[in-house]
Symmetry: C2
Subunit: 232 residues, 2 copies
C-alpha cells in the first residue's frame, strides 16, 4: 500500500491533538505543522511538540509568522485584554476579540505549500462549529471554499497528480465528544494546552473562554481534566 | 467621499509596480505589501521600497515569510539552478522550476489579514495570464476561488461590512501593454527589478525567463528598458 501522507495543523490544544490522533488512526503518515504567531506564551508551542511526539508524527515543523504586525486581536496584540469569566465564544452573531484576521486562511495556505512539496493531498484541521466559536473561518462553507481554491492554486492539482482534501473530522463534535474520541485513540490530554492567559508557571487560568469550554467539555464527558489550574 | 483603501501586493517587478500605479489612478489609498521569502537577492525588496515611495503608497510593509523551509523551487532553493537562455515560461502544459508552491495563496492570505485590520475591501495583485506563465495561481479561476474564500473567511465580510474584491488589472495585458499603461501612469521602470539571477552589483542577467519577458515587452512597446544589464 502506498504511503498516504497528510499535513495536520497542530496548535497544542485539545482539538488539534484529537484531530492528529484521528488522522493517524485513519492510516495517514502525519506531518504536523505548528505556527508561532506572536502569541503571548510559548506554552502552546511546547505542548504541540509533546503532542506531535507522543502521537508519532513523522515530522513536526514550527513556522514563525508575523501576524502580530497586523494587530487587532487579543491573541496577538498585548494592548487588548483577554475576556474572562463568561463564555463569550458562541454569543450569536458576535465575533470574539480573540479572533485573528484571516488566521485559518493563512494556516491552510502554508499547509498547502508543505503538502505540495511532500506530495501529500490530505490536510487536517481541527476546526469546530458545534461549540460554535463565532470564528467565520471555522465553518464548513469556508473550508469548502478553501479546498476549491487549493485545487486551482497548485501545480500538483493542475497537473492531475491528485485532488487536495481538507479534512475536518471534529467539525460537528461537541467538546465532550472530542474528548471522548481522543481518549479512545490514546490522546494524552495532560500534554495539551488551551488557556489564552496562563500564569508564569504555565498553569491555566480556568476563566478565559478557552479554559471554560475545555472544563465544560471534560465535565460533560464525565472525565477529569488532567492539566493544572491556577486555583486548584 | 470616504477614503477607499486598498492593499496592493508589490514585488518590485514591473507587473506589480504597474498594478500599484493603476490602483492609485483608480482613487485608492494604497497600502503596499511585500514579502521577503528566502529569495536569493535583496534587490527585489529594495526595488519594492523605491516603487512604493515613488508612487505615493500610504504605507509599505515588508513581511518575512518562511517559504524556503518547504523547499522545491529555484526561487527559494539554492540547490536548484535558474533556467537560462530560453523562455521556459509559457511552454504549454509545463510548470516552470521557478514555481513556488502555494505562493499566491499565501500572499493573498496575508493581504486579506491586513485588509481586514485596515478596513479595506480591495486587494490588488499583478498576476498575468496572457504572457502565460504556467503558474496555476496566476489564473482568473484561482483568483475567483480565492475571492470567494475571502468572503467566507473574515469577520468583516460575515458581519456584512463589505465584500472583498481581488483586483487583477493586468491579468489580460501583454507585457508590452503593461509597460505602455505604466508609462502613461508615470511608473519609473528604472526603479523596478525583474531578474531571477542578478550579479553582485545588482545588474540583471538578461538571460533568465524574467529578463527575457521583460526585454521582449519593452521591445514590443517600442521603448528602451531603463535598467542596467550585465553585458551592455
Amino acid at each position: 500500500m502506498p504511503d498516504k501522507k497528510a499535513v495536520v495543523l497542530l496548535s497544542g490544544g485539545l482539538d488539534s491533538a484529537t484531530t492528529l490522533a484521528i488522522a493517524c488512526s485513519e492510516g495517514f503518515s502525519c506531518y504536523a505543522l505548528t505556527f508561532s504567531y506572536g502569541q503571548r506564551h510559548r506554552r502552546e508551542i511546547d505542548a504541540a511538540k509533546k503532542v506531535a511526539d507522543s502521537l508519532g508524527a513523522i515530522e513536526h515543523r514550527i513556522v514563525t509568522i508575523d501576524l502580530a504586525s497586523f494587530g487587532r486581536s487579543a491573541l496577538t496584540d498585548s494592548t487588548l485584554n483577554v475576556p474572562k469569566d463568561n463564555i463569550h465564544i458562541g454569543e450569536p452573531g458576535k465575533i470574539p476579540v480573540t479572533y485573528v484576521p484571516a488566521r485559518n486562511t493563512i494556516f491552510l495556505s502554508y499547509a498547502l505549500a508543505w503538502a505540495e512539496v511532500l506530495g501529500a493531498f490530505d490536510i487536517f484541521i481541527g476546526v469546530n462549529s458545534t461549540d460554535y466559536s463565532g470564528y467565520p473561518d471555522c465553518r464548513a462553507e469556508f473550508i469548502a471554499a478553501f479546498e476549491r481554491t487549493a485545487n486551482l492554486a497548485t501545480a500538483a492539482a493542475v497537473e492531475g497528480k491528485g485532488r487536495y482534501r481538507i479534512h475536518t473530522p471534529i467539525i460537528e463534535m461537541t467538546k465532550a465528544q472530542i474528548i471522548r474520541s481522543g481518549t479512545q485513540l490514546g490522546v494524552d490530554y495532560s500534554l495539551t494546552h488551551s488557556c489564552y492567559d496562563p500564569d508564569e508557571r504555565g498553569r491555566s487560568c480556568g476563566r478565559c473562554d478557552s479554559c471554560r469550554l475545555r472544563l465544560k467539555g471534560f465535565a460533560e464527558a464525565g472525565l477529569k481534566d488532567p492539566i493544572e489550574y491556577k486555583n486548584e
